[in-house]
Symmetry: C2
Subunit: 131 residues, 2 copies
DNA sequence: CTTGACCTTACCCTCACTGGAAGGTCTATA
DNA sequence: TATAGACCTTCCAGTGAGGGTAAGGTCAAG
């Protein structure tokens, strides 16, 4: 059993974030006699689980679902796989979007003289005068 | 001169967004006698400029800067180019992050049976039992 | 004269936190 | 015992970029 500072060190999550996870009912620690939060090893596992899933790009609600599957010894791995597969698709879409964005911007920047004169194809494009 | 509905159609921006841009002092239209917003062609140009820059991934503050350069006939194209170049670098970083994320998730999903049994390497990874 | 489309402001909601203020508690040292 | 400083608590407000909804004013058509 440890208080929030140690929990923060162990999980690499800011204390603010840990309190927030309690507020939204993700991880609810015990309280010591003085009112301090008191985290068990189980709580720490859950916080680490959250830290990892969040850094993999799962939303809080997805994390909540994954956490409930994590807690459920009878879960079907198919359920978890489906969530992961969806997420891969989502990431693919984002990468595609960003790549197209990059191409457009790069073209604009490459075609811009970049001198002290006002003539600028980037601005022209944004203004729509060349589109 | 037109009211906000027509401006919305012409610029493909929701009216909410157009009002928001006025609130943050990006585009300030005239007002008709009845209190309705009244957009000039100049306003429409600016809104379109914003629509394009936002969809290219510029933040509102970057848009504000670009817009001021757009309005400034004596701007140096180097200023605009620098902003665009920074943005390309930023997009590159995001793509890289997403790709690494995708690799991790894909590996996890591929190694998961996806059946009705509880055994699941995705959950194991998130739990840190294999890390 | 009424209906419905359009417009106005004003307020709270989102997501996932982050920052700060005001105050209580704990531990070490003088 | 006093006190300094590190830690903890709750509460309030803000971020970015809008979205939702309500209550009400205005306008054009039938």
């Amino acid at each position: 059993m440890m208080n929030i500072g140690q929990a923060s060190e162990k999980t690499q999550l800011p204390t603010k974030t840990i309190r927030y996870y309690e507020e939204i009912l993700l991880v609810s620690p015990a309280r010591a006699a003085n009112g301090y939060r008191d985290y068990s090893e189980q709580d720490i596992h859950q916080l680490r689980f959250l830290q990892r899933s969040r850094s993999l790009g799962f939303t809080i609600e997805e994390c909540r679902l994954l956490l409930s599957l994590y807690e459920d010894d009878h879960r079907a791995s198919a359920d978890v796989k489906a969530i992961a597969r969806d997420k891969v698709g989502e990431i693919d879409r984002k990468i595609k979007e960003l790549k197209s964005l990059r191409t457009t911007l790069k073209n604009l920047a490459d075609n811009c003289h970049g001198d002290d004169k006002p003539n600028c194809p980037i601005i022209d494009e944004l203004a729509g005068t060349k589109a």
